[in-house]
Amino acid sequence: MVKRRKSQDKASTDYVISNFAGPYVKWGLLISSLVGVLFPLYWLLLSAFKLDRDHRSYPPVFFPSEFTLDHFIEVFTKNQLMENLINSATIAVVTTVITLLIGSMAAYAVQRGPLGRKTKDFFGLWFMVQKMYPAIATAIPVYLVMRSLRLIDTLAAMIIMNTSFNLPLVIWLMMGFFEQVPYELEESAMLDGSGFIHRFFNVILPITKPGLVASAILTFTATWNEFLFAVILSINKAKTLPVVIAGFITDRGLAWGPMAATSLVTLIPVVVLTLLVQKDFVKGMAMGAVKG
């Protein structure tokens, strides 16, 4: 992407773009979209702390006079949410570490390794198509293989599948970041006698930290939220948070309070994580879109 910023006249350019249809449209759109995004989130927060009787009342209670932690206590004691939370965290962290390590290695090999042009193009296209791959297409065979390997309901099975689905994206992202590293830097390292592996870990990785951070967040979030394989491959022991949330939908209706509490427990870690590294995250995602 062309990156050209001129600070002196930026304010007016931004102003022109953001007022493309006049101030009424601008503020109307901004306020309605913010309310549209925020209200459901407020409702989730409210439902998690609302008393049971407020859940059933009509008209709905918008500003409850009393709050309760019962729903959280219920899910953590009766439903063993702690186990699911630990499962989710373990799967997401291990997947992120593995994906980042082998993904960035592969990306570096394809981007800067001594491979032929055709080989590079082939790998590039492969990872690209793989990125678009619908997960459901592998669901049945993966289920059968995992069943015969006795890996159903294990964390290992989930880590393997999540790594598989996140690898192409991470490779693609990191290839974009490695592309921006100036050749001179590598050449001078080469002249100092540093080999391929040494160059990668000591010269390249430290300066592509923003890319690593963005890849890590994307992988972590995707794995943390992953549902399709989680519901297929887990029965009880390896259940993750999304599976628990979906489990609140029963024939008798939804258990709103515990459901909202669990959703909130699921949402908060990724929100905190994303806000901490928002700049790198946005940059990485934009890179992914432009490159991918």
């Binding site: 992407m1 062309v2 990156k3 050209r4 910023r5 931004d14 102003y15 953001s18 493309f20 249809a21 901004l30 979209s33 913010l34 995004v37 925020l38 459901p40 409702w43 059933r56 009342s57 009509y58 008209p59 709905p60 082998i102 290695m105 592969a106 090999a109 394809v110 390794g113 001594p114 790998f123 198509v129 793989q130 678009m132 791959y133 619908p134 997960a135 459901i136 297409a137 592998t138 669901a139 049945i140 059968l144 790594t163 598989s164 080999g195 391929f196 592996i197 979030t221 939220n225 549902f227 999304p242 949330i245 979906a246 939908i249 949402l267 929100v271 946005v282 995602m285 879109a289 991918g292």
Partner: protein, 297 residues
């Protein structure tokens, strides 16, 4: 000496690639081939120790007469086209509005990021709660405007609209964030020059901003469109394809064939066709994007 060094580099390079290649071969390529193999057999997953029976092309022929499949294909196509159109138009508009370096625009960006990092399952259940016909908050709001109780998820037409609505809520922010990043990278001098020449904001949008942002839009449309075909989590939690087959989409349909009706052979055949179609769409977009890149950059 030099040659030896280069050879060791080449070895290291392949060593770097190997873990990924082996991993993807086992976890992505092999299942796909296995799907291809299974698609020629009849295999019921619920019967233990059952041997697959070779049925030739039966599973593929079945697709032509399976009306449920036809319904869910049409549903998925409609869903993909409408949701992507809505999300891109709305997303770009909001992106332009928040295009600024000021404090409030950064706060707005942070807020917009929440739906896209929220677990889709949680989004589905949350909206299911708000769309409840009798106690849901949406109907309560609408009652102020004299609108009668809407059966958000129980009426076939409304259910289609509801899943679209939720998808728009979930993914418009994604479009916004990407487009906002694209807008910030626009060359400033074009717009400045147009301003000096006295162009109106409308002209600047149609003649300058839109053509310049088009490559980003093509990619956004490509990613959103291919993603829309994979919609599963929110459908599963909100309607599970119901009422009837009103919101049945292909991933959910394949899932049901395989893991609810235990017809592994048919599900595998469906998966193969699905992957082929997706690959076709991807290649189409890639070609489009290449053309776009040649035109602009």
């Amino acid at each position: 000496m030099r040659l030896k060094k280069r050879r060791s580099d080449k070895f290291a390079c392949w060593a770097f690639l190997m873990p990924t290649l082996i991993f993807l071969a086992i976890t992505a390529l092999f299942p796909l081939l296995y799907s291809g193999y299974l698609s020629f057999f009849r295999l019921k997953l619920n019967l233990p120790n059952q041997q697959p029976v070779f049925v030739g092309l039966d599973n593929y022929i079945k697709m032509f007469t399976d009306t449920m499949l036809h319904t869910s294909t049409i549903n998925t196509l409609l869903f993909a086209f409408i949701s992507v159109a809505l999300e891109v138009v709305l997303g770009l508009m909001v992106a332009m509005v928040i295009c600024s370096d000021s404090m409030w625009s950064r706060v707005a960006t942070s807020i917009f990021m929440i739906p896209m990092i929220m677990a889709p399952v949680a989004i589905g259940t949350l909206w299911r709660m708000m769309m409840d016909a009798s106690t849901g908050v949406l109907n309560y709001f609408l009652s102020f405007f004299g609108v009668d109780t809407i059966q958000w998820l129980a009426d076939p037409t409304m259910a289609k609209i509801s899943v679209l609505l939720v998808n728009v809520w979930q993914l418009t922010p994604w479009v916004t964030v990407i487009c906002a990043a694209g807008l910030k990278a626009l060359p400033q001098d074009c717009i400045q020059a147009a301003l000096v020449d006295g162009a109106t904001p409308r002209q600047i949008f149609w003649r300058i901003v839109l053509p310049l942002i088009k490559p980003v839009l093509v990619i956004v449309v490509m990613m959103r469109f291919t993603d829309a075909f994979k919609v599963f989590d929110t459908i599963y939690t909100m309607t599970n394809g119901g009422p009837g087959t009103a919101t049945e989409m292909l991933p959910n349909f394949i899932y049901k064939q395989g893991l609810k009706y235990y017809d592994a052979g048919y599900a595998a055949a469906l998966a193969i066709v699905f992957v082929l179609v997706m690959a076709f769409i991807t290649l189409f977009f890639l070609r489009l994007r290449k053309k776009e890149e040649e035109n602009v950059w």
